[in-house]
Symmetry: C2
Subunit: 278 residues, 2 copies
């Protein structure tokens, strides 16, 4: 039995400081490093995690918006989670992630808002059905190799449609990816990892154009459609993820995504707006 | 020639105070009153407007997230717009709307984040095509009548699919509305009115169930897919709006929406998460 913490738990380790309630400190994770900063999914998960670890938390996550103002630098960061409004069954949060800047200034890298709520049993209905898919085991896993992009190694990705273009030949095509995905090292799904998985899709403009232009998420919003019990049912199973771009205009495009459990339960819907250079 | 301001301009009138940069005061508008507070679209537009009137503004809106923490009460409110990060071509904002509470406290009613950017000409592509539709003039305008819901009178709404159910008989159906819509009193489209129009769709759960259950938007995110020139082209023309629910689960559902110009240009995509009671 291993006692080594999971890389995601290490990346999400936060220390609740004594400075004020909701103030946490943490350190960026080399395991989830992207090209010029942490994988954005980890940053989103950290913002959510600060709320989930806040002593005043009410309920479970409903909505999470994360704005990537600047890439985090390697090293220590501060997170402040503040419950700005607590109603009878819903709670509204603001979150900031900062790092020390030059000359004693504070570097604002990330802002976020979170809504949590105590859910109640109501009439429920799933109108977004999971697309047909081959069994996960029947789909090849992406072999990352020495790409230098660490976070890709943390996920087991099995795209069965819209994988990374094999030729960057500028041919125009659709922008939809369908993929089986889960943590590479088994870890039961929770809200933080679901938040991270919502950002696992590479920029749609690369697929749409078969062209590798500079691109980066500016803002992501994820809605959670399950409670803790439904997440527990997923456990360490695969998720089916779909992502597609909708409109590409003068430097920004939007990208919608859905994540289902292998049994076909819609766990999260997510949208992001992404900068692209040319 | 009339010199009376448009109701929307009256609702959005903000006074930049001397207290600090980005601090504005305003007053709720009876013209856009909903059942227990202002129409959420107006509140979203106000949050955006505070950024657009900020002296440090860079560029035009890309993304807007508004969290409805509590209904605004009738009367005066304060808005604080803060540029938390200004990069070379993008700018990140936080916005709060507050009202005086009891005993000298401050009542946080709304939080928002906004991303603005200086757009540049790039490769562009519209992948979300406008659905086929009859001409606006061929569709009956909704007659509001003495509903007591003031804001509905401010919009000319011509739904050609998924209008308000004629019978609240609990019959299950789809949740998609398609509508031609614009300001009832002609007003050239701008980013603030586009933000408001993104919230013009009634709760999808009413349509899905043909049942009038208590429901209210908790958080809305709108992405803007045009610059000022493209908005100016729309002028006072109709927009084609589509909205549909996706997942209804234990008290919350999500609702996606798109707004096209009459010529078929996608102006905005929007998503919201909505509370429903039963």
């Amino acid at each position: 039995m291993s006692t080594t913490p999971h890389p995601f738990d290490k990346a999400l380790a936060l220390h609740h400081s004594d400075i004020r309630v909701g103030h946490f400190t943490g350190t960026t994770s080399p395991d989830y490093w992207n090209m010029v900063g942490p994988f954005g999914g980890t940053t989103a998960a950290l913002a959510l995690q600060s709320v989930l670890q806040h002593p005043d938390l009410l309920g479970t996550p409903i909505a999470l918006t994360v704005n990537y103002a600047a890439a985090l630098g390697e090293g220590a960061f501060d997170i402040q989670a503040t419950a700005v409004r607590t109603n009878r069954s819903t709670q509204h949060w603001t979150v900031t992630i900062t790092q020390p800047g030059a000359d004693g200034t504070t570097n604002m890298t990330t802002t976020a808002t979170v809504v949590t709520a105590a859910r109640r049993d109501t009439w429920s209905q799933a109108d977004l059905t999971m697309p047909e898919a081959p069994k996960p085991e029947a789909v090849d896993r992406i072999s990352i190799g020495p790409s230098g992009v660490a976070w890709l190694d943390q996920y087991e990705m099995r795209p069965f449609s819209g994988g990374i273009p094999s030729k960057w030949d500028g041919s125009l095509q659709h922008s939809e990816t369908r993929i089986w995905v889960r943590d590479a090292q088994a870890r039961p799904l929770d809200f933080a990892s679901l938040a991270a998985l919502s950002d696992v899709f590479y920029p749609r403009v690369w697929l749409r154009r078969a062209k590798h232009v500079p691109a980066g998420t500016v803002s992501i919003t994820t809605y959670f459609h399950v409670g803790a019990a439904e997440l527990a049912e997923v456990g360490t199973g695969y998720l089916l993820g779909c992502a597609a771009g909708q409109q590409f205009f003068n430097g920004f495009f939007d990208q919608k995504a859905q994540l289902w459990s292998e049994k076909g339960a819609l766990l999260a819907t997510s949208n992001q707006i992404v900068y692209y250079k040319e």
